[in-house]
C-alpha cells in the first residue's frame, strides 16, 4: 500500500433517532491518491458511513456514538460539514441532489461558495469542470431539474470538484444511469485520481464497475466491514462473486472473514 492514510475511520458506531443502530464498529481507511470502494447490500450502512465522514448525520437526527474519524491525522468529529469542505472532504450525495431550480452553471458555482472565487479564478475552475464533462457545456443555462439523470450526476460531481477537494465521497454514483454513462463517469473518476491525485471513497451496488475502478475495497454488512483487501483480490474471491456479481443466487448471506 502506498500513500499515507488520508482518512481513517476508527471503530465508529452510529445511531439514528436515538434508536436505530446503523453502524456497529466500522473501521476503514483511505490512503492519499487512492480510490476505495465500499460494497454491501441494501441497508448495510454504506451511506451512513459516508455521511458520518462528511458529518451530515445531524440533519437526519443521527449521531456518531462511538469511535472517531481522522482526516490527515486530525479528529474531525467536531467539525461541521462546511469546515470539512474547506479542509478538502466533500460528498456527492446519493440520488445526485442537484439544486433543481438553479441552472447547471449556478449549481457548479455553488460548489465554490466556500472558496470565495470570483472573476477569472472562478471562470477557470468552471472551465476545468467543463473540460471533464463536455456534455454539460450546452446545458449550462438550463435548470438542473430538467437535465437527464446522467447529466445530473455529472453536475453533482462537477459541483464537488469546484470545492477543490482532496477526498470525494461518492454515494452510488452509478445508480439509475445508463451503462455508457456509468462507464463515462467512472472513467472520469479514474482520471481525477490519476491526474489530480484526488482520493475517492465510493459506495456502490454495482460491484463489477466499482471494483474495476478501485484500488481497495471494503465489504460492509450489518454496519461493519466484514472483508477488505485490494480491489482485484476482492473481485476474484468466489464468495464475493457469488453475492455481488449475481452469477448465482445464494441463500447463504454471511461472510466468514
Amino acid at each position: 500500500m502506498t500513500g499515507a492514510p488520508l482518512l481513517v475511520v476508527e471503530d465508529i458506531e452510529v445511531v439514528y433517532q436515538q434508536a436505530i443502530l446503523a453502524l456497529r464498529g466500522l473501521s476503514l481507511h483511505v490512503d492519499a491518491g487512492r480510490a476505495v470502494t465500499l460494497l454491501g447490500a441494501n441497508g448495510a450502512g454504506k451511506s451512513t458511513a459516508l455521511k458520518a465522514v462528511s458529518n451530515l448525520l445531524r440533519a437526519e437526527r443521527g449521531r456518531v456514538t462511538r469511535g472517531r474519524i481522522l482526516f490527515e491525522g486530525q479528529d474531525i468529529g467536531r467539525l461541521d460539514t462546511a469546515d470539512l469542505v474547506e479542509a478538502g472532504v466533500i460528498q456527492v450525495l446519493e440520488g445526485r441532489r442537484c439544486f433543481p431550480q438553479l441552472t447547471v452553471e449556478e449549481n457548479l458555482i455553488s460548489g465554490a461558495v466556500s472558496r470565495r472565487l470570483r472573476g477569472r479564478a472562478l471562470r477557470s475552475a468552471l472551465d476545468r469542470v467543463y473540460d471533464l464533462f463536455p456534455r454539460l457545456v450546452p446545458k449550462r443555462g438550463l435548470n438542473a431539474g430538467y437535465t437527464s439523470g446522467g447529466e445530473q450526476q455529472m453536475v453533482a460531481i462537477g459541483r464537488a470538484l469546484m470545492a477543490r477537494p482532496r477526498l470525494i465521497a461518492l454515494d452510488e454514483p452509478s445508480m439509475g444511469l445508463a451503462p455508457l454513462v456509468v462507464e463515462e463517469i467512472f472513467a472520469i473518476l479514474h482520471r481525477l485520481r490519476d491526474e489530480e491525485g484526488i482520493s475517492l471513497l465510493v459506495a456502490e451496488q454495482n460491484a463489477a464497475v466499482a471494483l474495476a475502478h478501485a484500488d481497495h475495497a471494503y465489504i460492509i454488512e450489518n454496519g461493519r466491514a466484514v472483508v477488505d483487501g485490494p480491489a482485484a483480490e476482492i473481485a476474484a474471491r468466489p464468495d464475493v462473486r457469488d453475492l455481488y456479481f449475481g452469477l448465482k443466487t445464494s441463500e447463504e448471506r454471511t461472510f466468514h472473514a
Partner: protein, 293 residues
C-alpha cells in the same frame, strides 16, 4: 372616471404597503421553505422598540441603530434556538414553531414596552397632493419608493451575488447545500436578520400609518394574499402581487361592495388570489416546482 382613477391609484399605493410586509415573508420562505408567521410580531417589536426609545429621548438615528441591533440579535437567536434544532423538519412543524415564536416576541415586546399605543411621526408629510384632479398621499409615495428600493436591492442581491446564490441553493435543497459546504446556520441567520430589517422598515412605515400598537401584528393578514398571488418565493412577485391585490381590493370594495353590503375587503383579496391560483398554482412569479415521477 376621475373617481375610478383615484380608487385605482389609492389601491395601488395601499398595495405597496402590503408588499412591504410580504417581502419579509418571501425572504424567509425562499431560503427555508417556512411561512414565517412571526413576521407580524417582529414588525410590532421593531416599531415598538423604536418608538419607545424615541419617546424616552433618544435621537432618531440612535433609536434606529439600537432597534437595528435588536433585530440582529433576534435574528441570530432565532437561528440558533429555533431553526438549527429543527433542521430538516417538515414545513408545517417550522410554521408552528414560528407561531410559537410570535408569542414569545409579542410577549417580550409588551413586557418591555408596555401595552400603550403610540403615535409615530417619521417627519413625512401625509397631506395629500393633488395631481390631475386626484389626491395622492405623499406618505404613500414615499412608502412606494422605499418598497421599490428594497425590492430592487434584494433582487440584485439574489440574482447577482455569490451569497445570493448560496441562499437560493439552500432554498432548493438544504442537505445538498450542506454537503457542498454552504454554512446553513450562517445563511439562516443572515436571512432572519434581513427579514428583521425588512420588518423594521415595514414596522416604521405601517406604524406611522396606524400608530404603533398591538394591531400592527395584524397587517400580515394583508400580506398573505399578496404572497399567494405573487408566489411565496418571488420578491418581484411580492411587489406586483401587492399592487394587484391593493387595486383589486379597493375597486371591489367601492364598486362591488355596495351590492353585497360592503366590508368585503377582508376576504375579497383572498378569494381573488385564490381564483387566480386556480389558473396558476404557484402564483404569478412563483417557481414551478420541477416535479417528476
Amino acid at each position: 372616471m376621475d373617481f375610478l382613477l383615484e380608487v385605482l391609484v389609492g389601491g395601488l399605493l395601499s398595495g405597496v404597503m402590503y408588499s412591504l410586509v410580504a417581502i419579509g415573508f418571501v425572504l424567509i420562505y425562499k431560503t427555508s421553505g417556512v411561512l414565517n408567521f412571526a413576521q407580524g410580531a417582529q414588525l410590532l417589536f421593531a416599531a415598538l422598540t423604536f418608538v419607545s426609545l424615541v419617546e424616552r429621548g433618544l435621537p432618531f438615528v440612535a433609536a434606529l441603530a439600537v432597534t437595528l441591533a435588536a433585530m440582529v440579535v433576534i435574528g441570530l437567536a432565532i437561528e440558533r434556538l429555533v431553526l438549527r434544532p429543527l433542521v430538516n423538519q417538515p414545513p408545517i412543524t417550522l410554521f408552528m414553531a414560528t407561531l410559537g415564536l410570535s408569542y414569545v416576541i409579542e410577549g417580550a415586546a409588551q413586557l418591555l414596552w408596555g401595552a400603550q399605543v403610540h403615535g409615530l411621526d417619521l417627519g413625512i408629510d401625509d397631506s395629500p397632493i393633488e395631481a390631475a384632479g386626484i389626491f395622492i398621499s405623499q406618505f404613500d409615495l414615499f412608502a412606494a419608493a422605499v418598497a421599490g428600493v428594497m425590492v430592487a436591492a434584494l433582487v440584485i442581491f439574489f440574482r447577482k451575488t455569490r451569497t445570493g446564490l448560496a441562499f437560493r441553493a439552500v432554498a432548493d435543497d438544504q442537505v445538498a447545500a450542506l454537503s457542498v459546504g454552504i454554512r446553513l446556520p450562517r445563511v439562516w441567520a443572515a436571512v432572519w436578520i434581513a427579514a428583521g430589517v425588512v420588518a423594521l422598515v415595514a414596522g416604521l412605515l405601517w406604524g406611522a400609518r396606524l400608530g404603533v400598537q398591538f394591531s400592527l401584528s395584524l397587517v400580515v393578514l394583508k400580506a398573505l394574499p399578496v404572497l399567494v398571488l405573487g408566489g411565496f418565493d418571488s420578491i418581484a412577485g411580492a411587489i406586483v402581487g401587492g399592487l394587484l391585490i391593493g387595486a383589486a381590493e379597493k375597486l371591489a370594495e367601492v364598486y362591488l361592495g355596495p351590492y353585497v353590503g360592503g366590508g368585503i375587503e377582508g376576504w375579497f383579496a383572498y378569494v381573488a388570489a385564490l381564483a387566480f391560483l386556480l389558473i396558476r398554482p404557484s402564483g404569478l412569479f412563483g417557481q414551478k416546482l420541477v416535479e417528476r415521477v
